[in-house]
Amino acid sequence: MIDQVARTAVLESPPPVADEPAPSRQAVPPRGRSRSASLAWLRREILLGQTPRDYLKSLVTPFNIVAALILCVGIPVTIVRFTQGLAATTNLTDATPWGLWIGFDVLCGVALAAGGFVMASAVHLFGLHDYKPLVRPAILTGFLGYFFVVIGLLFDLGRPWRLPYPLFISPGVTSVMFEVAWCVALYLTVQLLEFCPAAFEWLGWRSCRQWAVWMTVGLTVFGVLLSTLHQSALGGLFLMAPGKIHPLWYSPYIPVLFFASAVAAGISMVVFESMLSHRVFQEARHSRARMDRLTLGLGKAAAVVLMVYFGLKWLALAHGQQWRLLLTPYGYWWLLEVLGFILLPCLLNAYAVRNRRAGLVRFACVITVLGIVLNRLNISIITYHWNAAERYIPDWKEFAITIMIVTLGLLSFRSIVNRMPVLNDHPDFEPAH
């Protein structure tokens, strides 16, 4: 407290006394300031310290041009979707009611956004404080991941404006989907709250931020609970589809498989994304050694989780007594998923950790992420209705929307990271979160 008062005092007095720490930047909210101060704040925080003109100019980058092109396709398709319906935009049929938007945007989106709860629990509950720098990016990815999962869902639902119905108006308590709906809605809120400290630091709202930090442990526990429930429940949805999903993928263990693979996906995404953000944002070059150390630690965890997941996959197979199916084309496909995208990254991770090769861990994590995407698509699309003559192949418009949503996710991640203290600690605050 005293510390804060002192530091606020410093903020208020313009010329810093020689020995006193000078604020590197003034995190003063526009509230209660003169107009020019608000404008200055806007310019500093929203336009990244540039004039509007310079800012607009600076937006012309190759990535942004590609993104703009994607939006140029995606926005008209969005309009078609909501004015002419699902039939005009998708290849969905009564036989394959779920397509790319559920299979990729929702199922993969949720699995890959699991990093938030994995990292938060590692640091806040299990005391692995070394990993603190990875928590905020993971939570931000998690929040944006879920947010865009919901956006994807809005495209897919026949009547998206009824989204709150299952929650408040007409709950169908016997449905696994009902559980998913509640958990995702609550978890989205939890992640927003978990991210609040960063946002409040950015705004300079000290007391709010204090409250947000105070809630951390409770939120983390709640977040882990909700994640456990809905990650497994997403698999549980498919319990209702025996005979439609290929027997090699259908199993009463499917909720457990979904949960285990989501943890593996979450860890791998954290590695993958720290690799990307360090490239893209060219930040913390000097702490490379530290990053490598953390990456190796995560690689170790990933190896263990993948081993468990690998074992569960075989257990599920043994339970279903479907050995002979392994020698069919779908069997080879299953073996490719299980050996090439679970066992291989598991062994690669183990080898890399042993020989301290962080680069190899990153590679293994990329394979893991691809493997989990493959698994979700196998269950929801590729082996769904495996014995039917007609196959579902997504329409190009479905791809356009999916790509647009991913792009929007990346753009939001980038603009938040550029402004709020996510990859770095905020210099004016103790690193409490």
């Binding site: 990244l48 404080h129 696994v176 600690d425």
Partner: protein
């Protein structure tokens, strides 16, 4: 009585109250006789001639009739492909086997089976389906959000979705003409239309007796199986046929377990997770806290600075001081130039200083 009991059990199962007992009781009730008051339909596939007049009648009754005259339904070319129910055809007739083989083709009329424990109803997250006290499974679009999970769940793949409707898409499926009958009709439109009386409407129990009697009287004519008696826990729509059902496009792998049973175990584990998980996690947290406190008390100087976190403001402040210092050279405007780059803020160096300096230095 058994409806309310079953509903109660389903709720109890979902809420996880006495889940094992509930699951067992539910299983027992599904295997036992269904509600004797339930109505059902019996389709005798040996009688059906494949005239598709029932399709026409169904469309008329449900207000889905197009321009097509009734004669158009005589066109046999539709039998070239197997069709399934759709948003426009709540019942479809398919042909199995051909005249060429010298044997009589069999025509199979399909529609919602009106399951005793409907998968669609247990899957719907807004409760849009319900098993009515008379037996038919009724769908009401007033809360349907269009997730189409019911289409995934139905073991017989009967519900269909009107994908081409942008604003008010709905699920469509046979409702056993519930409204017609309420309005005084003696039986559903298809049964009324059928020229050969292949479809019988009546109490499910009576239909079962009738079916058994037919099979017993003509063992040469029928295979000894009533499809729907136990399939997926039993259905209100029943079939008897002269050929094995797997040859007639029926799903024979649906088992005898009611489909809601498939997720009941999972759902009843939810309260278990809800109680055990937080306790375990809080336990882990308490353990970690305790360990850290002990470690701090016994040798605080060796603890890395990141571990101090918010609990120790003194050292936190020291760290902050150290952290901010390097950016003194440009206190007013952080040097940020391009988006896509995080520069300035002094935090790059700061985090390094923080992570690589030890507390004794910082406190100096």
């Amino acid at each position: 009585m058994s409806v309310s009991r079953r509903d109660f059990l389903r709720l109890a199962g979902a809420a996880g109250v006495a889940n094992l007992a509930a699951a067992q009781a539910a299983r027992a009730s599904a295997a036992g006789p269904a509600n004797p008051e339930w109505m059902g339909m019996l389709t005798d596939l040996t009688l059906c001639v494949g005239c598709r007049k029932c399709e026409w009648a169904c469309r008329q009754a449900n207000g889905l009739a197009g321009e097509e005259p009734i004669d158009a339904y005589d066109d046999p070319s539709v039998f070239a492909n197997k069709r399934r129910t759709s948003g426009l055809s709540l019942t479809v007739v398919n042909r199995y086997g051909s005249d060429a083989a010298g044997e009589k083709p069999v025509h199979v009329k399909t529609q919602c089976m009106h399951c005793i424990e409907p998968a669609c109803a247990s899957a719907c997250l807004v409760g849009a389906y319900r098993k009515s006290p008379q037996g038919p499974v009724i769908y009401d679009d007033s809360a349907c959000i269009g997730c189409r999970y019911c289409l995934i769940a139905c073991p017989f793949e009967m519900p269909a979705y009107t994908y081409d409707d942008p604003l008010t898409p709905v699920v469509r499926k046979c409702m056993m003409c519930v409204e017609r009958i309420r309005d005084g009709a003696s039986r559903p439109a298809c049964a009324e239309m059928c020229p050969v009386e292949a479809i019988t409407f009546g109490k499910r129990n009576a239909l079962l007796t009738l079916a058994r009697k037919k099979i017993a009287e003509h063992p040469d004519k029928y295979v000894d199986h009533i499809y729907g008696e136990t399939e997926a826990g039993g259905t209100c729509w029943l079939y008897i046929a002269g050929k094995p059902f797997e040859e007639l496009g029926f799903r024979t792998d649906v088992g005898t377990t009611p489909y809601p049973e498939l997720t009941r175990g999972f759902l009843s584990s939810v309260p278990l997770i809800q109680t055990i998980w937080p306790a375990l996690l809080m336990g882990a947290y308490a353990f970690t806290q305790r360990r850290e406190t002990l470690a701090r008390d016994s040798g605080a100087s060796v603890a890395p600075p990141t571990e101090n976190g918010s609990e120790k403001p003194e050292s936190g402040r020291a760290v902050a001081v150290n952290r901010v210092a390097p950016s003194d050279d440009n206190p007013s405007l952080p040097s940020r130039s391009r988006p896509g780059r995080v520069q300035g803020r002094g935090s790059d160096q700061a985090s390094q200083t923080r992570s690589e300096s030890t507390p004794p230095e910082a406190e100096s």
